[in-house]
C-alpha cells in the first residue's frame, strides 16, 4: 500500500514545520570537516600505496635504502612530541568544556610548542639526510619516502598556522559558534595527523629500518 492511499484529515495534517529551528551550525560544520578528514585519509592512502609500490629493492636504484638512513630513535622523539602535542590539545578541549579561556589558550600554546618541536626535528632530520646524499632526486623509492613524510609535515605546518589563528580568534572573540566549531574541527585534524604519523612511523621508519 502506498502512503498516498492513507486517509488524511486536512485539518490534522502538518504541512509546514512550525517548530523547526534550522540545522545546528556546529554539528554541520564539524560533520563537513569530518568529510574533509576522510578525503585527507584517501590522500594519505594514495601516498602509502605509492610508497608501497616504490619500496622494492630496485626502486632505490643504486641509492641508499631506508635501512641505511632512517633513525627510528630520533624519529621516536618526534613521535612523542606529536603525541604530547595532541594531549595538550586534548587538555585545551577539556578546558573548553568548562569554559576556561585561559585553559584553552595555554593548552593550544603547549600544543603549538610541541608541534613546533616535531616540525623542527623533522627539518633537522631532512637536512641531515640531504647532507649525506639522501635526496628525493636519487631514486623513485626515495622520492616516495620524501613525498609521504613531507606531505605529513606540511599538514603539521598548516595545523600550527591554524592554531595560531585560533589563539588570536579566541583572545579576540571568545567562545562563539564560529570559534568553538573551529576548535572541534582542529582537534579532528590534529588527532588525524597523529594517527597518520603512527602509520608513517611504523611502515616507513620502523619497517624501513628492519628491512
Amino acid at each position: 500500500m502506498h502512503a498516498q492511499d492513507k486517509v488524511v484529515d486536512p485539518n490534522e495534517v502538518v504541512l509546514w514545520s512550525d517548530d523547526y529551528e534550522g540545522h545546528d551550525v556546529i554539528s554541520t560544520r564539524t560533520f563537513g570537516f569530518w568529510m574533509y578528514v576522510l578525503s585527507d585519509g584517501m590522500l594519505f592512502a594514495t601516498l602509502f600505496a605509492a610508497y608501497g609500490v616504490l619500496s622494492y629493492s630496485h626502486s632505490y636504484y643504486t641509492g641508499p635504502t631506508p635501512a641505511q638512513f632512517v633513525a627510528p630513535w630520533y624519529t621516536f622523539i618526534q613521535t612523542m612530541a606529536l603525541f604530547l602535542s595532541v594531549l595538550a590539545y586534548g587538555f585545551a578541549m577539556t578546558a573548553l568544556k568548562s569554559g576556561s579561556k585561559a585553559g584553552v589558550v595555554n593548552g593550544i600554546i603547549a600544543s603549538i610548542l610541541l608541534g613546533g618541536v616535531f616540525l623542527g626535528l623533522n627539518i633537522h632530520d631532512v637536512l641531515r639526510m640531504i647532507s649525506i646524499g639522501v635526496t628525493p632526486e636519487t631514486s623513485g623509492g626515495l622520492s616516495a619516502f620524501y613525498a609521504l613524510t613531507q606531505v605529513h609535515a606540511a599538514h603539521i605546518f598548516i595545523g600550527l598556522i591554524w592554531m595560531l589563528v585560533m589563539l588570536y580568534q579566541i583572545m579576540r572573540q571568545g567562545f562563539t559558534e564560529d570559534t568553538v566549531g573551529r576548535l572541534i574541527s582542529l582537534r579532528m585534524f590534529w588527532q588525524f595527523q597523529a594517527v597518520m604519523w603512527v602509520f608513517i612511523y611504523i611502515f616507513v621508519y620502523l619497517w624501513g629500518y628492519m628491512s
Partner: protein, 717 residues
C-alpha cells in the same frame, strides 16, 4: 631541488616569452582576435547598460546556491561548446587526412589534413579533459547545486561560502585551460596522460604543466563541492524528510559525491607526483632511477573510474525525476533504485584495471577486474528496468524533456552493452585503444549530456518562471540524435576495422567513406547547436506567453522542489515544509493540499554575499599560471595572499542577516502575486513531435470544500 628547464628562464617572467604566443598560427590568431573583439563588445555592452553593479552584487559575490548553480551550468555549456569545436576539428582532420596521399591543405606544416601531429595531440587531449571535467562535471554540479537543497527543503547549501569558492576555483581551471590556447601549448599526450611521455625530458614545453594545474584546480573545486553536498543532505533536510523519502536525484547526488570525496584525492596525488617529477626532479614515474610507469596509470584510473560514475550517477538521478513526471506515475522500485546507485558507487572502486587490461597483470587479476566490471551491469540493469516499468502503462507525455530522457536510455543501452563486451579481457585485448572504445565511452558520456539537456528543460521553468520552447527543444533533440548516430556508429565500425584512437593520419583509404559520414554527422551537430541557441532565443522572446503560474510547472511533477513558488525566491521556502510522504508534491497534489498556505511565518537567517570567494578563485588561477610558467614570485605571492584572505574571512566570520516574520509574510505574498500575475491558470502541457498535445491533462476535480476526489488512474501502480 628545482629542475633546470630547457630554454630561457627569467626570475621576473619565468618561461614566458613573446615567442610563446602563437600569433602566426592561422587558426589561433584569428580566434584570438575574435575573442578579444567579443570581449570588448561584452564589456562595452555591460558598461553601456550600467550592469556592472548588478553583476557584481547579484552574481559575482553571490552565495545563493541557485545562482551559483546557474553559473556552473553556463560555464559547463560554454566548455561543452569548446569541447565540441575540438571534436569538430578532430573529425575534419581525419576526414581530410585519410588515405595514403598527401591531400591536406598544409596550412600549418601538416602533411596530412590541416593539423600538424603536435597540434592534433593538443586538441584531443583538451577535448577529453574539457568534456569530462570542465563540461560534464560543472553541468552536473550546477544542477545538483540548484536542485538538491530544494529537494530536501533547505534554504541553501550547508556552506554557502564554500559553494562559491568551489565555483570560482572551477572557473579558474577553465581560464587556465582556455589561456593555454593563446599562451604556450596544451598537453599533447591524451587527457589522462602517459608515463613517461609527460616527464620533462620528453615533454619539455609548458603543455603538461597546464594540464597538471588545470586538473588540480578542478579536483580541488570538486572536492570542496562534494563535502558541501554531503553535509547539506545529511544535516539540512526539512523535518519529515527521512532517508526513505529522499528523492532519487538527491540519493544519486549523495552516492556520486561520496565517490567524488574519496576518489579526487587519488587524482590530486597522482598529478602532484607528476608535478614533483617535472619540477623537483623526483623519479616517481620515470623510466629509470627506480620509477614505476604503471604506478601513474594505476593511480590515475583509481580516480578515473570512480569519476566516470561520479558523472553518470547524477544523470541517472535526473532520468529518475523526468521519467516519472512525464509518465504520471511514481518511480518504479524506489528502494532498488537507491540501492542500485550505491551498488554502482561501491563497485566503481574495484574496476579501474579494465582501463589497461593490456598491462598484462596475468589471468587471475584480469579475471577479478573483468567480473567486477560485469557486476556493474547488474545495478545498471536494475535501473533500466525500473525506468522501463515506470514508463509501462504510464500516461506518457512526449515532451522535449521526456524525449531527451528516452534518448538517454537508448544510449545507455548501447554504451552499456558495448561496455560488457569490453569487460571481457579477450575482447578487450583485440579492441584496446581502438576507436571502438572511444565510441563506447562517448555513448555513456552522451547519455549524460542527454540527461543534462532533459534536466535543463525540465527544471528551467522552476528557476526562471517560464518554459523553454518545446518545439525547438524537440528539433534540437532530433538533430542531436541524428548527429550522434552519424558520428558514432561509423566509429564503432571503424573500431572493428582496426582504427586506433588519436590518429592524426588515418592511413587506410578504405576508412574514407566512414570518415565522410562522421563529418556529415558533425555538421548535423552544428545544426543542433544552432537549434539550441534558437531555442534559447525563442523562449526568452516569448517568455511572457510561456510564463508558468503554478508552483508545479508541469502539473505532474513529484518531488519537493515543485512546492515552492515559481520562480524560486532567494529564500527557497517561505516556511520550511513538513514532509509527509515520498514524492511530497505528488502527495499534496493528490490530497488537494497544493494551495494550502502556511498561516504564519517565522524569521529566517540568510548568509551575506562576499567577494572573497571570487578573489581566492582568481588567486588560484594565478597560482596555476605561475606554476605553469615557473614564475615563482607570482606563485608564492598569490598563495600567501589566498591564505591571508582565508584567515581574514575566518576572523571576520559571517553573521548573516535576519529577515523578520512580517517581512517574510510580505515577501511571500509578493512572490505568490508575481507567480499568478495573469489569468491563465491552466497547466501548460507540451507533447507530440512539434509541440502539439498528445495526451490530455486531467486536472484533479476538487469540490468547493477543498476536499478532493482521488485520482482514478494508474498513478497508484
Amino acid at each position: 631541488m628545482l629542475v633546470n628547464v630547457p630554454g630561457p628562464w627569467s626570475p621576473l617572467l619565468g618561461r614566458l616569452a613573446l615567442s610563446e604566443i602563437p600569433y602566426t598560427n592561422p587558426i589561433l590568431a584569428p580566434l584570438f582576435i575574435v575573442i578579444v573583439l567579443a570581449g570588448i563588445v561584452l564589456i562595452a555592452g555591460v558598461t553601456y547598460y550600467g550592469k556592472w553593479g548588478y553583476l557584481w552584487k547579484e552574481w559575482f559575490t553571490t552565495v545563493d546556491h541557485k545562482k551559483l548553480g546557474i553559473m556552473y551550468i553556463i560555464l559547463g555549456l560554454i566548455m561543452l561548446f569548446r569541447g565540441f569545436i575540438d571534436g569538430l576539428m578532430m573529425r575534419t582532420q581525419q576526414a581530410l587526412g585519410d588515405g595514403p596521399g598527401d591531400n591536406g591543405m598544409k596550412v600549418m606544416g601538416a602533411i596530412h589534413g590541416y593539423l600538424a601531429p603536435f597540434h592534433f595531440g593538443q586538441i584531443y587531449s583538451a577535448h577529453g579533459l574539457i568534456m569530462i571535467l570542465l563540461a560534464a562535471t560543472p553541468l552536473l554540479v550546477g544542477l545538483m547545486n540548484i536542485i538538491v537543497p530544494l529537494q530536501i527543503g533547505a534554504r541553501d547549501m550547508a556552506y554557502p561560502y564554500l559553494n562559491a569558492l568551489g565555483l570560482w576555483i572551477t572557473t579558474a581551471a577553465v581560464f587556465l585551460i582556455m589561456i593555454s590556447l593563446f599562451v604556450g601549448d596544451f598537453s599533447h599526450n591524451g587527457w589522462f596522460g602517459y608515463a613517461p611521455i609527460f616527464e620533462l625530458a620528453y615533454s619539455p614545453g609548458v603543455g603538461v604543466d597546464y594540464w597538471i594545474w588545470t586538473l588540480e584546480l578542478v579536483a580541488l573545486g570538486t572536492t570542496l563541492g562534494s563535502i558541501n553536498f554531503l553535509a547539506t543532505v545529511v544535516k539540512m533536510r526539512a523535518p519529515g524528510m527521512t532517508w526513505g523519502r529522499l528523492p532519487v536525484f538527491t540519493w544519486t547526488a549523495v552516492s556520486a559525491n561520496i565517490i567524488a570525496l574519496t576518489s579526487f584525492p587519488c587524482l590530486q596525488v597522482a598529478l602532484a607526483l607528476v608535478g614533483a617529477d617535472r619540477y623537483l626532479g623526483t623519479h616517481f614515474f620515470t623510466a629509470g632511477f627506480g620509477g614505476n610507469l604503471m604506478l601513474y596509470t594505476n593511480l590515475f584510473w583509481l580516480w578515473g573510474h570512480p569519476e566516470v560514475y561520479f558523472v553518470i550517477l547524477p544523470a541517472f538521478g535526473m532520468l529518475s525525476e523526468v521519467i516519472p513526471a512525464f509518465s504520471e506515475k511514481p518511480i518504479f522500485g524506489y528502494i532498488t533504485m537507491v540501492l542500485a546507485s550505491f551498488a554502482i558507487a561501491g563497485v566503481s572502486w574495484i574496476v579501474w584495471l579494465h582501463h589497461f587490461f593490456t598491462m598484462g597483470m596475468g589471468p587471475y587479476v584480469s579475471t577479478e577486474f573483468s567480473i567486477a566490471t560485469m557486476l556493474v551491469g547488474i545495478p545498471t540493469g536494475v535501473k533500466v528496468f525500473n525506468w522501463a516499468f515506470t514508463l509501462y502503462r504510464g500516461r506518457l507525455t512526449f515532451s522535449a524533456a521526456m524525449l531527451w530522457s528516452i534518448g538517454a536510455l537508448f544510449l545507455l543501452l548501447i554504451g552499456g552493452l558495448t561496455g560488457m563486451m569490453l569487460a571481457i579481457p579477450a575482447i578487450n585485448y583485440m579492441v584496446h585503444n581502438s576507436v571502438f572504445v572511444v565510441a563506447h565511452f562517448h555513448m555513456m558520456l552522451l547519455c549524460i549530456v542527454y540527461a543534462v539537456f532533459s534536466a535543463i528543460i525540465f527544471w528551467f521553468p522552476k528557476i526562471y518562471g517560464f518554459k523553454l520552447n518545446e518545439a525547438w527543444g524537440k528539433i534540437m533533440f532530433w538533430l542531436f540524435s541524428a548527429g550522434t548516430f552519424l558520428v558514432f556508429f561509423p566509429m564503432f565500425m571503424l573500431g572493428f576495422m582496426g582504427e586506433t584512437r588519436r590518429l592524426d593520419w588515418p592511413f587506410n583509404p578504405q576508412w574514407g567513406p566512414w570518415f565522410d559520414v562522421q563529418e556529415i554527422g558533425i555538421f548535423v551537430y552544428i545544426l543542433s547547436v544552432l537549434a539550441f541557441l534558437w531555442m534559447l532565443y525563442v523562449s526568452i522572446r516569448d517568455r511572457h506567453a510561456n510564463r508558468v503560474h503554478t508552483a508545479d510547472a508541469w502539473g505532474t511533477s513529484r518531488s519537493l522542489e515543485w512546492l515552492t513558488d515559481t520562480p524560486v525566491p532567494f529564500y527557497n521556502f517561505a516556511m520550511v515544509p513538513h514532509i509527509n510522504a515520498l514524492d511530497e508534491v505528488a502527495w499534496r497534489r493528490e490530497h488537494g493540499f497544493m494551495d494550502k498556505k502556511p498561516d504564519h511565518f517565522k524569521a529566517i537567517h540568510m548568509p551575506n554575499n562576499t567577494p572573497i570567494a571570487l578573489y581566492i578563485g582568481a588567486l588560484t588561477f594565478l597560482v596555476g599560471f605561475g606554476l605553469t610558467w615557473r614564475v615563482w614570485w607570482l606563485t608564492l605571492a598569490s598563495l600567501i595572499l589566498a591564505v591571508i584572505l582565508m584567515i581574514y574571512r575566518s576572523n571576520k566570520g559571517d553573521p548573516g542577516y535576519i529577515i523578520p516574520a512580517e517581512k517574510m509574510e510580505e515577501m511571500d505574498r509578493e512572490s505568490k502575486a508575481r507567480m499568478l500575475s495573469d489569468d491563465s491558470h491552466q497547466v501548460p502541457h507540451g507533447g507530440g513531435f512539434s509541440g502539439g498535445t498528445v495526451t490530455a491533462y486531467t486536472a484533479l476535480d476538487r469540490d468547493a470544500s477543498g476536499s478532493l476526489t482521488p485520482p482514478n488512474d494508474s498513478r497508484h501502480l
